[in-house]
């Protein structure tokens, strides 16, 4: 990770968000092609994303990722394509956003951490 502070952390989050979306899309395609293990990979990616997005101040991404994790956990991929499209749209917004999001959403956080 280059640099330090929240700016660098946010940049890391954005980079990993796009990487996760790529992996999830590949896993979805693999699942459709008959690879049963791909659902577990998708579930893991959704799980990680749900955990990290809220920490960075994006509860909407957390909720969407949780829904994806839940669906993958049940072995059904119904609606996963829609969820991934939704996440891609949000990722585009996140890429443009500033790190102040973290400060505004972590309201209880001490200001000296920023």
């Amino acid at each position: 990770m280059s640099g330090s502070g929240w700016g660098a952390l946010h940049a890391l989050f954005v980079r990993r968000l796009h990487e996760r979306l790529t992996v999830m899309t590949q896993s979805l395609n693999a699942f459709k092609a008959g690879d049963c293990n791909a659902a577990a990979e998708m579930e893991q990616q959704f799980h990680s994303l749900a955990g990290i997005a809220g920490t960075f101040g994006y509860p909407d991404i957390t909720e969407t990722a949780r829904e994806g994790e839940r669906r993958c956990g049940t072995g059904s991929i119904d609606g996963i394509t829609t969820l991934l499209s939704d996440l891609r749209a949000r990722a585009a917004v996140v890429s443009e956003s500033k790190t102040t999001v973290i400060a505004s959403t972590q309201t209880k956080m001490a200001p000296y951490w920023i």
Binding site: G5, F13, H47, I52, R66, E69, W113
Partner: protein, 214 residues
């Protein structure tokens, strides 16, 4: 005493050691680890560092130093000062998570709460690190490859006095929270997404002597 910087033929700065007189490339000089406020270049030949000189000699030395070396001194001293302040006082927190972002956040936030922070990507790596230096608190993700957080918790509780905090997604919280406390002996529980106020409260509860840095 002649502590001099000079410009070499290839436009790099060379440093003549005030002690042994050996001339070396200043940009490649090692920097001392002495417990002083500033870091100074150390001679690559005799190993003597300039912080051993008197104040007047040091001042004269830095007055003659080229800007690049002076800038490096500022950066080295700042980093060194932070590291020494933390290393000499702060208790160690070991953060174990397979997620790169969580480790990065922990490395950023935990030192600001008055702790040193070490990170590991899985249970076996964490146990190997604990053989070197025992942390006061181990914060571990519940779900990890190789060895999950609950299993790590059990190992830690058997072999050390470290407090263990299990961390997992709110989505799976109830199940893991119950298991973490009842079966694996965790001391605390944290939910993801990480609430920094909750993290701060948890660390301070488990290690009340740590000083929060302003």
């Amino acid at each position: 005493m002649s502590t001099t910087f000079a410009i070499a033929a290839d436009d790099s700065y060379v440093l003549a050691c005030p002690s042994c007189g050996v001339v070396s490339d200043a940009a490649r000089a090692l920097w001392c680890d002495c417990l002083t406020k500033e870091r100074t270049p150390r001679c690559t030949s005799c190993g003597r560092c300039l912080c051993k000189l008197g104040a007047q000699q040091r001042r004269r030395f830095w007055e003659n130093a080229p800007p690049a070396i002076y800038a490096r001194r500022r950066g080295e001293t700042r980093q060194h000062g932070r590291a020494m302040a933390v290393a000499t006082k702060a208790p160690l927190v070991l953060l174990v998570d397979d997620d790169e972002e969580i480790r990065a956040i922990g490395s950023h936030v935990i030192p600001r709460l008055g702790f040193r922070c070490a990170t590991a990507t899985n249970g076996p790596e964490a146990l190997a690190m604990m053989a070197e230096e025992e942390p006061v608190i181990v914060i571990t993700d519940a779900l990890m490859p190789k060895m999950d957080g609950r299993e790590l918790c059990r190992f830690v509780k058997r072999s050390s006095s470290a407090k263990v905090v299990i961390m997992t997604s709110l989505y799976t919280a109830a199940h893991y929270k119950y298991e973490a406390f009842k079966r694996f002996g965790a001391d605390e529980y944290l939910a993801k997404p990480i609430d920094f106020a909750a993290l701060q409260a948890t660390l301070q509860r488990l290690a009340p002597n740590a000083e929060v840095k302003a």
